[in-house]
């Protein structure tokens, strides 16, 4: 068994893991990245389209270019990393067990852990599409890997279910390869990815976008030969008589991403409704000294936002090691944040009462699009509105970020639950933001 020690061990060498590692190393602490693939970079490496880095670097980069900037920094700072290495267990005392084919079993003892494992795609099984189970059904990200990394086409005529960003980007990518994308079919009455992808990937290439429909049957016993799509009502139930058959030899699914937290769960940490770990305002999970950032915590719109969150996590881990590690500081009282009306989930899940004088970064997604709304933060115990903000519109594909100093907003220290609602704007005064 090979043993390592590090102040901070980082699980995952993608955009989140590398950004966090760089922060920790710059502060002079020992850090180790554990990556399961054969190179650093994570999912960015198969995202060969442009659109990354506008916020972080002020220029438009491809995924591999964006990743390379961080890989270069990792190398310059001589941050150690293990490749082809799969973490199999995280224990409560922050020991990480992993395996690879060179060292065998690996044990890493650390003071803090940063979880940066990213997310996985929702599958056909998760949405229970009826029909046959032929070859030719792929998640969009899997198809992206086949095309961009392996160099193979998984079909010639495609239907894409779900208007997630990867689905729309693959629609364009496949069109460039000479494939035909018959349709992008979305169950919601609105696009679930970014507007810019709808314009640049679908509209610019005349790829039909069919809203309010879903795939209700898969045809073909051996190889897929088509799908039935049907219009759905507001409960997402199939409307009888609305069936349409579309011929295709491959079906891609772009029906959502789920933070990947089996390790987190097995370590004994609590997860929240978005399948990300429950974290406090320090991005610290319910296990002391275990932090989370990037898509393992919540699925972000842009990698730039992942980088920003990961830098915060890196600095919060440093702060933990310097100020709290080994001192048996008791966890103080916490306020629990609750996703209210039209809020899918909210991060952080908890706020330490002792931290309310600091600025807290709240992030959440709405469940459905709405216009002319008001975001409200309410103290449940005192039934008091402590903060409100008007917005012209909200859509599920755009994460809402709100920085807030709760003390300045005069939160009562008796507050135990903070409810976040997105509600129609009260028509008192008309004021645009």
């Amino acid at each position: 068994m090979k043993k390592y020690e590090a102040d901070v061990v980082i699980i995952g060498g993608g955009s989140a893991g590398m950004a966090a590692a760089i922060e920790v190393k710059k502060a002079g602490l020992d850090v180790l990245i554990i990556e399961r693939d054969y190179e650093l970079g994570g999912i960015l490496l198969q995202c060969i389209h442009v659109g990354f880095g506008l916020h972080e670097f002020g220029e438009e980069l491809t995924g591999p270019q964006y990743a390379q900037k961080f890989i270069n920094q990792v190398n310059e700072l001589e941050i150690p990393y293990l490749l082809d290495t799969m973490v199999i267990e995280i224990t409560q005392d922050k020991t990480v067990y992993a395996v690879n084919n060179k060292d065998g079993l690996i044990m890493v003892e650390s003071k803090a852990i940063i979880l940066a494992m990213g997310c996985r795609e929702r599958t056909r099984g998760a949405i229970n599409i009826p029909g046959f189970r032929p070859a030719g059904i792929f998640t969009a990200g899997q198809a992206q890997r086949f095309v961009n990394i392996e160099g193979y086409l998984p079909g010639k005529t495609f239907v894409i279910l779900g208007s997630g960003d990867i689905g729309m980007i693959m629609a364009r990518r496949l069109t460039w390869e000479g494939c035909e994308v018959k349709a992008v079919v979305e169950i919601n009455p609105y696009v679930s990815g970014l507007i810019r992808n709808q314009v640049q990937c679908l509209e610019d290439f005349n790829i039909p976008l069919i809203l309010g429909y879903t795939v209700t049957k898969i045809h073909g016993k051996e190889k897929i030969r088509g799908v039935t799509i049907s219009k759905v009502d507001t409960n997402f139930d199939r409307i009888v008589g609305s069936d349409r058959f579309i011929e295709c030899d491959a079906l891609l699914l772009s029906v959502g991403l789920i933070p990947e937290n089996e390790l987190t769960l097995n370590a004994g940490a609590e997860l929240s409704s978005n399948n990300g770990p429950v974290v406090d305002n320090n991005l610290e999970s319910t296990i002391e000294g275990v932090f989370a950032c990037g898509n393992v915590l919540q699925v972000h719109d842009l990698v730039d936002m992942v980088t920003a969150e990961a830098k915060r996590a890196g600095n919060l881990a440093i702060e933990y090691i310097n100020e709290r590690y080994g001192k048996e500081v008791k966890r103080e009282k916490q306020i629990r944040c609750i996703a209210g009306d039209n809020v899918g989930y909210i991060k952080p899940d908890l706020i330490n009462l002792s931290d309310i004088s600091k600025e807290t970064m709240f992030t959440f997604r709405v469940k459905y699009p709405d216009r002319r709304i008001q975001i409200q933060f309410r103290d449940k115990e005192n039934n008091q509105l402590i903060y409100k903000k008007n917005k012209v519109y909200v859509i599920p594909s755009e994460m809402v970020e709100i920085k807030l100093n709760l003390e300045e907003n005069q939160i009562d220290t008796g507050c135990q639950h903070l409810i976040i609602d997105v509600v129609p704007r009260p028509e008192v005064l008309i004021e645009e933001e």
């Binding site: 799969m86 395996v99 099984g125 890997r145 086409l153 000479g178 049957k217």
Partner: protein, 490 residues
């Protein structure tokens, strides 16, 4: 070369017969239509080893299943497939149903089903199975009922049979059979086999095979059963839960698997197409509604797959295990539930029939009944794992992250006797792709390994045989072809 015995059909029945006969000094071959064994009815069923009280007394299947259940104990020791007697509940939710359960219990005990017990104590029921509905008024507990992984059992049987000399021919669909001079000539696409004795274990296709020899005394109809599978750890059940059975089936179960998943199903729908394993919107609704009667709180959000399997339903209502009018031809047909339970008993029966036909059963000197337990990453302690990786680095390369499967297990699945040739073959042997990501992570890696080990191109790697390749061509091939066509047109 004339075989002593040819078996048509590589499901659990055919493979169990092959393994049972492999003990004796006989030349045996097994022909399977699909690209792999175990890919028909065997692949998609409930995987329940029944206690054996359910079928009517007039039927042979009752007696074969009661006996067959007992034979699992020794087979499990020899073949090392996943099997566990966790016990089953048949759940009465109305007082009027209790009498039926009491009748079942009495008759079951008379016929040799051990330890059947009718439980009325609600507290005790709830203690034994906390997830069960509060509506339960009584349960029939059968502690000898168990779970088996039907495909892993079948692979174990085939591996052991092959170790003992049985020849397996996959992708060999039988298209014609001739019987002259006490010899069968069995034609498949491209090949011809000769044998003295022919066993028809062709499942859904067994009536067709029988008709090739002019024997049309039975018919087989497919009856579809749909299932929904939930993620590992989504819920924990202690028992196999059955409702009160109906005429056509044992009803919709809520059942754990030996790999920690839970499934609900099957429904029962008579169809005509023997290849129609499609699931339906109505069917999936039906099984969820049925399952909720036993377990009201199903983990719907943790559903990871739906699938359907077909039962081979005979019009005789019973197993058809016959020495037929064609000398040397044995039908083993209509093996639906409790066929999996009965497989070892059925194989014994077939052996007896062959003896009646004059086949001499002389035990081979080098017969080895043991199929070693496949080594599994998740069974190893950390120290064992470390040791293994030092000896063989492929233990340290994880290919499937959901089920934690290292490359070694996949290589073993490929290089085992009657090894995997397809992505599904690997999935059912050692589980990559069985998990919650549905192969999203491991599939490209499994394709790479198959391509390398079988020395074939990526485009030739298939899901389940011919016409099921995942990849069509290299990127840019479509564009290059278009350019070429344009140039030719000019």
């Amino acid at each position: 070369m004339i075989y002593d015995v040819i078996i048509i059909g590589g499901g659990v029945t055919g493979c169990c017969i092959a393994r049972t006969l492999s003990k004796y000094d006989l030349k045996i071959a097994l022909l399977e239509k699909k690209a792999d064994i175990s890919m028909g009815t065997t692949k998609a069923n409930s995987g329940v080893v029944h206690a054996g009280y359910a079928a009517d007394r007039q039927y042979i299947k009752r007696h074969l299943s009661i006996h067959g259940n007992k034979l699992y104990t020794q087979a499990y020791r020899e073949l090392n497939f996943p099997f566990q007697r966790i016990g089953s509940f048949v759940v009465a939710v109305e007082d009027s149903q209790i009498k039926d359960l009491e009748d079942e219990r009495k008759k079951g005990i008379q016929d040799g089903v051990p330890n059947l017990e009718l439980i009325f104590d609600k507290k005790r029921i709830k203690h034994m199975e906390p997830s069960l509905t509060d509506d339960a008024v009584a349960v029939l507990h059968a502690p000898t009922a168990g779970l088996v992984s039907p495909y892993e059992l079948t692979f174990a049987l085939a591996e052991n049979a092959a170790m003992n000399g049985v020849k397996f021919f996959r992708s060999h669909e039988v298209v014609k059979i001739k019987h002259t001079d006490y010899t069968f000539t069995v034609r498949t696409f491209g090949d011809e086999f000769k044998c003295r004795n022919l066993i028809n274990a062709a499942g859904l296709y067994s009536a067709n095979i029988s008709k090739m020899l002019g024997l049309d005394y039975f018919d087989i109809m497919p009856r579809k059963g749909e299932y929904i599978l939930f993620d590992r750890n989504a819920m924990h059940l202690n028992k196999i839960l059955f409702p009160i059975p109906t005429v056509v089936s044992k009803g919709i179960l809520v059942c754990p698997t030996l790999h920690g998943n839970t499934f609900v199903g099957p429904n029962a729908q008579n169809i005509t197409d023997t290849e129609d394993t499609s699931t339906t919107e109505a069917g999936l609704k039906e099984i969820l509604e049925g399952a909720r009667k036993l377990v009201p709180n199903l983990p719907l959000r943790a559903s990871i797959r739906n699938f359907a399997g077909l039962r081979a339903v005979p019009d005789t209502h019973d197993f058809i295990i016959d020495n037929t009018d064609v000398y040397g031809f044995i039908n083993v047909a209509g093996i639906l539930s409790p066929g999996l339970t009965s497989c070892f008993a059925i194989a014994e029966k077939v052996k007896e029939f062959l003896e009646l036909l004059g086949v001499v059963m002389k035990v081979k000197e080098d017969y080895n009944p043991i199929r070693p337990r496949p080594e599994r990453f998740k069974d190893l302690s950390k120290e064992e794992l470390d040791q293994k990786i030092q000896e063989d680095p492929t233990w340290g390369k994880i290919i499937c992250r959901c089920e934690m499967i290292p490359e070694r297990e996949i290589l073993d699945a490929i290089h085992a006797p009657v090894g995997a040739r397809t992505v599904d073959g690997i999935k059912f042997r050692c589980r990559p792709g069985m998990g919650r990501c549905d192969g999203g992570f491991c599939r490209p890696r499994v394709i790479e390994i198959l391509s390398r080990e079988l020395n074939i191109n990526y485009e030739e790697v298939t899901k389940k045989g011919e016409d099921t390749n995942y990849l069509m061509c290299h990127t840019k091939d479509l564009l290059l072809n278009e350019i070429k066509r344009g140039e030719e047109a000019e």
